[in-house]
Each structure stands twice: as C-alpha cells, then as structure tokens.
Amino acid sequence: MTAYRLSAGGLVDRATSLNFTFDGQSMKGLAGDTLASALLANDQMLVGRSFKYHRPRGIVTAGASEPNALMTIGSGARTDPNTKATVAELYAGLEARSQNSWPSLKYDVGALNGLLSPFLSAGFYYKTFMWPAAFWEKVYEPIIRKAAGLGRAVLERDPEAYEKCWAHCDLLVVGSGPAGLMAALTAGRAGLRVILVDEGFRHGGSLLSETTPIDGEPAAAFVDKALSELATLPNVTLMARTTVFGWYDDNVFGALERVQKHLAVPSSKLPAERVWRIAAKRALLATGAEERPLVFGGNDRPGVMMAGALSTYANRYGVAAGKLVALFTNGSAGYRTAADLAAHGIDIAAIIDSRADSTEVAPFGTRVIRGGSIVDTKGRSRLSGITVERSGFEERIDCDAMGMSGGFSPVIHLACQRGAKPVWSETLKAFVAPDVGAGLRLAGSAAGLYALAACLKDGADKARTIASDLGLLTSAAHLPAVGEETTASFTALWYVPGARSKAFVDFQNDVHAKDLGLALREGFGHVEHAKRYTTNGMATDQGKLSNVNAVGILAGMQGVSPAELGTTTFRPFYTPVPFGALAGTSRDEHAAPKRVSPLHGWAARNKAVFIESGLWYRSSWFPRAGEKTWRESVDREVLNVRENVGLCDVSTLGKIEVFGPDAAEFLNRLYCNPFLKLPVGKARYGLMLREDGMVYDDGTTSRLSDEHFLVTTTTALAGGVMSHMEYCAQVLWPELKVRFCSVSDQWAQMAIAGPKSRLVVQALVEDDVSNAAFPFLAAKAVTLKGGLKGRLFRISFSGELAYELAVPAGYGEAVADKVMDVGRMHGICAYGLEALNVLRIEKGHVTHAELDGRVTPDDAGFGRMLSSQKADFIGKRLSTRFGLTAADRMQMVGLKPVEKDKDIRAGAHLLREGAKPSTLNDQGYVSSACYSPVLGQFIALGFLKSGRERYGEKVVVWDRLRGEETLAEICNPVFVDPANTKLNS
C-alpha cells in the first residue's frame, strides 16, 4: 500500500463515505471525489492497459486530458465506455471496469505485443497488412479490432433521455478558475447577461487545489464567496458539469451538460445529458493551461503522473499518490508540487531538475539534482524507482510515485476551431491562440499568464474591456490580495536523451519518441503526415498531452523551430460527445415522425397491411381470410376494380390551392402544357418540367373558379413542388398577383374506381354525377347527402370509370365507412398501393418510377403536351436543345415476356437478342413491372431506344442481379382499354 488518503485536508466530505466497485472489487471513496481520486485513495494505481502494447498504465492527470484512466462505467443498458476516471464524479454504487485487458487487468495476454514491439513500429499496419487485399477485411481487420480494445458500446437500447437547448448571453465565460471567476464577477456586477460554464462538478477550477491564500483566506473560501455573490445576480447563470466542446459561426458555442451522470438513481423527469447551443455576443476562454509530460525512458509506468495532478490529488482530494515521491521538472512547477506534498507530510525522494543553472528553492531538506535527467524507471506494474543520470554518472533512486513537469501549454482548442492557426510563442515556449477578433478572447493561463494574481487581474480586465465593447461602463474592479507567489518559468525540454526503455509521447496510442524519428526518416515529417503515420494525437484524448511534445521532437530532429513546423488542426469536439446527446429528442418517431393519412383508421379497420413510404404509412393491400400471399390479395383487388368497384386512399397526394387574378398565368408558366383556357369546373393533367427540360412532377390541376385552382402533386414531391412554386412566384415573377397555400393535410381524398363507381358515388352525393352532367375530367364542389361539402373529380389513375372524392380531413373516416356501406351491394373492396400500382401499369400511367429525372415529356409519351404556343414556361428553352430531341432517345414502351409464365422485374436492362451485355449495347431498362391479373402474365413498362418504332420486336430483359435473361415483346404501354372507352363510359 503506497497511495492513500491523507488524514486531513482537501475539499472532500469526510463524513460521507461512498461505496463503489472497480473490476468487481468493493472500494470506498468520499463525496467530492472523482473516480480517479477514489481509486488512488484505495491504492489502485494500475487502471488500464495501453492500446498497442498492452502495457500496464496508471492515472496520469487529474482532468480532461487523461490518456490512460479510461473506464467503462455503469451496467446493463446504462453503460458508458471510455469515461475518464479523472473527471467522472464518484457516486454511491458506481460500477467501474477497466478496458483493453484480457483475461484480467493484472494478467493481460495482449502484453505479449510488448515483446513483439520491434515489429509494431509506426506505420506497421500500413506496411504489414497491405497484401493480399482480400485478407484485410476478413483476417487483419477483425484481429486488429479485437486486440485494439477501447471500451465497447453496449447493444441494448439506451434508456436515457437527452435534450437540446438554446441559451443566449452577452458573455460566455468558459472555465471558472481565477480568470474565469473574476471575469464573471466583473461582468455580472456590470449587468451583463453572463453564463459561467465549468466542466468540473464544482466551480473553481485550479482554485480548488490552490494553496496560495486570497484576501488572507484559503482560495476555496474565495471561490465560495464569489459563487454566492454570483448566485444573487439574476443576470448570471452558473453551469457546472458542462463542457464547451465547440465554437461555431456567429459565436454560437456547443456545450454538453452532464445533468444526471453523477447520480446513482437518475430522475425520469430529467435528461441524462443536454446539448446546449449558446449564442454569445462575446466569449472569454479562461480554460487554463495544460502541464506537459516529459518524454523519458519508462515514463509510462503506473505511478508516473503529472506534477500538477499530484498537487491536485493532495490539495483538493486529500489523497497521496505515494509515500516517497520523486519529481522531474524543467521549471518551477516541480518545486511547487514538492512544497505542496511536503506540506501534507509526504516524503520527497528527490527533485530532478533538467536545468543546471536553476535557482528555485526546494522544501527544506529535499535533495535537488540540478542538470540531471531520468533515463529509466523501475517496477513491474507500478513504480518502484528511477534511474537518474547526471554528468555521465547514474544513480538509482527509490520512489513509489513521481511527478513530471515539462512546462505549460495554454488550452486554446476552442479558439482554433474555426480555421485560425495557433501561433508559436518563443517567450512562452508554447502555442498560443491567434487573434480571432472581438467575439472571443482569452484570459489567464489560457492567455499565457501563470501567476495567480495575474490571472485574477486579467479576468477582471478582459471582462471590463468586453463590457465597454458592449456599451457598459464599469468602475475598476476590486482585485483581491494574493499571498506571495513564485514566478513560474520553465526551459523547453522536448525529449530526455539517453532513454533506456521506451519514452512515450502519446500514452493512449502508444507512440514513442523513436516512432516519430521513423516517420521523419520515411518522409512523413510534416506534422499532419507524422500524426497519421504514427497515430500520435489520434486517440480519444486527441493529443491533449502529446501534441506539443511531438511537434517539439519533430522540429528538433529537423533543426527548425516549432513555429515553422506548426500544429495539427483543431476541430470540434474538445472532448467526446455521446451520440445520444447529439441526437437529443430526435429519436424514434421524433426523428422520423409517423405520418398517417386521415383515412388511416378506416384502412386499419379494413385490415390493411401498411407500408412506410417516406414518412407516410400507406395502406399496401387488404388481405382477406384465406389469402396466403400478398399477390392473392392484390390480384383480387385489381380484378374487383376492373369488374365492380374499389375504394383507395389517395389522401397523401400533395394539394395546393392557388388564388389570384394571375393564378392561371402563373400555372401556365409553371406547367409545360397550357392552363390559361382551362374551363371552370374542369381538371387537367399537367407536367411540370425542370429548367433543364426534364420532367419534375405531374398531377391534375382543377379550376374551381376563375381565380381559384387546386394543384395536386405526387406524394413524394409535395414539399418540393411547394418550394418550387414559392421560388417562381417570389423570385422569378414577383409581378404576378398570385397566392397559394398547401392543403395536403386538410383534405381526405378517396378514389372510387370501377365500372360500378357511379352507382356508389351517386348514392352519396346530392349532385348529378351522370356522364352527361359530370363527364371525364369534371371537377366541382359537391354536397354529400346529409349536407357535408366536398369536392368531386372525375379523374382516373386506374383507367376505369372513376371519381376522386375529397372531404375535410376530419370527416374522412366517416365518409370512407359510408362509401363501403353504400358500395357493399355493388361488391366494393378496399384496395391499396400495390393494386393501384398494378392498375396504373396495366393502363400505362407513369409514376416517379418512370419520371426519374432523366426523362423528357416526349420520352414518356407526352411530347404533344409541350406547348409551342406559350411564349415561355419553366423548361421550355432547354426542351428544344440537341440531345433532348434526338431520335434514338429511350422512349417508354410496354414489355411482355414471350413465354407467358416468365416474369420481369424492374431494374433489368434491355439488350438486342444475341448482344453481349455491355454499356455500349444497352438498349434501355425496365422501370416498373407487375403481374397483371387481367392479362394473366407479367407486364412491364420500360424505356427503350427509339422504342415507339419497335412495337412487335423482341428484346432480351437482362437481370444481372437475379441472373436471369427473359425474352420479351415490345408493345404499346397501354395494356388495358387503349381506346379509353371504360374511362369515358
């Protein structure tokens, strides 16, 4: 036992003990602990195995940059992999498991990879797994994936709720350390709407582990006072457990709030996590600075930690990582940690200072080795000693933990997410944020200030500047008095020479210094290339600890300054964001809402089988007792419509009402066929083109009065056509006096089709619907028996005598039930989308299966609809271009298998008999196909080169997908009633 809970001190609640488990072992922590501090208090130094070599790894940091202590937390469906123990708040009953080890953390089989390490160098995967290509997917990848075990996502449905919110403020302060807290106080007192965000579960940042007194009191007391003042200000919002992960255009920030991740029993009334989008007039990053590791031999042994983390664990959590601690530093920070630990009674083995001429003063009695370096570490799964080298002499020093301090890098991630590159500062030996304008500024350590007093002052000053930017005058802030501080300084040290064992740069991805050398030798010296080649900085921590050291090493090897080398690109997210939180409430029916027709209940009562079509649930067919396959039902429905009468729900078609003195002119320009002279009370089939001359959409348009039309669109393009019409009316022809609105959801519409449909319709409506009074293409408002007003259209998709009856949506089901009642004596049946499709293929009517965006009106057989009289309409000019009028274009034809029992399916291509299947020999394709119960065989619609001249010829229907070739005869696409006698009867 070497790591332990100190007898006093820290901001943990020593009266509240929390039980938790790690790899099934029961442990105790305190309220206020992170999982990491509690593990250390239980002397659990070994927490995971590394990614590539499966080396034993321990906790390194006390924050969001942690590369090693990734845990799987929770159980069952509530399991979160890859959670950093250093930020996970401890709660009673927490279950944590280590990752990437098998069969157990202590005895890991994958550690054999360490013995193979000469073969596992950088670029190893690229070089080794190149050949044979087929092996990649089947052999290499599964093995690599199995071995490269980060945490695993569970397969159960996520039981948590998530949500997304917007917030607005004058000033967003990111981080509540000394600079952030002073900025929030200053801006809050000045009256700005302030949001103060901190990723920790307690506001205060570095002040929570600060030992320098503020205003003569412990720093934590200063934090408490500041927070209670902020809580009284109505214009200030405090958000803890919230990570600002991205900076987006217009100063909108993305933030993840972990609302209930710290609770053993979350409330069902609150989300687990929230994604905030914060629109901030100004933002201040007070994100602090990250201490850099030192790259020396054996620096990944459990027990080697960041010096600052040792201080934090001791000062804030009352935990000592060891009984005898060594420190390796290139600056003043190592001395500070030594003083912190000594103050808690922890023995210091030695301070090894890489600088020969440093003047910092160590705690009384502490041995300082100036100009020394560590070349190796000892111990198996935890540190037992270090090998120190100075002036050619080596010495073994015993210790059970050590801290390393390689200087500081300001945390500038957010400031560089929108394209601006970090700038190298020779003075600070670090990359600092570029000037990104007034919207976002940095303060405190994030701006390269490392002294407490300077950070407090900078936060206040920057907040005052922002307040005056926004037009608020503030008086000079009262700055708290700070106790004596040492000046922070360090000398850059990217790599400690003489390493006896691997010196790791990136702990999480197992990249060591030699890998970077190899990358350079093999031509991957550019910082972005080196990253991909070695995987340095590509792990879940995105190189928070490793990137600057990697840049320093690469620059050093090339004899250039880090300024010249630059850094890799910063992108959102700062830390990983769960998919659930990003989805928010958009899941299941909230992601893809279920659209149901006003006749859905009627269809369900008639036992419809529904099919998803876009967001719609449409009735597909209506099986009856004894029918074993869908085809049996569909065949029956089709024959019944052809012989008696059927009712089909066509409510999903788009419906747009168009009004105004220029309504007719507007439609005339919108459609390729004329609309000016459409008589009132008549419907007309119309084709809308795209400006490139291809068909966009089709449907019937009815004139209900001189200045009132009803346009219908296909189901799929209801929204698209509406937008298109709005564009034409608002942008192309704003001079036209026309207004329109979508009424798709306001009307239930049913097709009543079949030779007996007139009998059914006449039984329902007051108006005369005889052929004389209500001929084909009549369209009128009618009164239903009982007084309900509706609209009746004599239009037919099936080719039968047919009507479409529209009633206000709320009456839809009642009217449909009535239609069925009235129709029973005439043998009515409900028919669905499948039967509708068969009926229209038999009649040679097109849908978007034919009008797929590559088809001109003439291709589909509508060449005569193209008005030559009209001066202009959308698509007119390019309809006449070369290529759209060529004689060998593919034209719509019908197809029938020569052998009656063969079938044809859509998607097949057409070839001349004996021709080899090739793009060059392609003659066309099948767009729709079905079994026609009327003809007793399969039929199809397709497009064939010069097809209309080739009726009677035979082609091969080549279905590569199913490996079938079928000989078919080309015919007129209208298979049923080509003379339209049924339609007009």
Partner: protein
C-alpha cells in the same frame, strides 16, 4: 456556414430552418436567348471564395425566398433581403 441567419421577416433564426438553392445573381434569361446563355443559367456555377449572394428559403419559418449575402470563406453574413426585392431591382 453561418449558425444564425437574420431573416428580414422573422428575426435571427438558426440555420437549420433554412434551405439553400444557390447563386442568387443569376437572372433567368429571355426564352429567345442563345443556347449558351441558357446553358450558363441552368448548368454553369462558379464556386467563389469570398462574397457570394445565395438564395435561401426560410422553410421552417415565413417560407420566403431570401437573398443571403455571405462570405463563403469566413462565413460572415453581410445582408439578408427578401428575394422579391432583389427580383424587382433587376427589373423583372
């Protein structure tokens, strides 16, 4: 792309409410114009870096077509006007 679009009718709204069509500087040619003019109008698009005027529709708002003038590189939005205003300006 900008995160927030100041719609002249609805105020500042998130970009998710809008749909983008493309170049707003194009003027629909006269039907008698040459093949080349029409080809340019229908098919040829510049992809400029810098200032660009685009047609955006406020689909989940007022449903007006707007002209958004923005910088394709910095994503700064300079102005948002109603599309019909622009149409009247160019004399159509």
């Amino acid at each position: 792309m900008a995160s927030l679009i100041p719609c002249p009718h609805c105020g500042v709204r998130p970009k998710e409410e809008f749909a983008i069509r493309g170049d707003a500087s194009l003027v629909r040619p006269d039907p008698e114009s040459s093949d080349e003019t029409w080809n340019d109008y229908v098919h040829i698009r510049a992809n400029p870096r810098g200032r660009y005027r685009e047609h955006w529709q406020h689909v989940a708002g007022c449903r007006r077509w707007l002209v958004v003038e923005r910088d394709t590189f910095t994503h700064e939005v300079f102005s948002v006007t109603d599309g019909s205003v622009r149409a009247w300006e160019i004399g159509r």
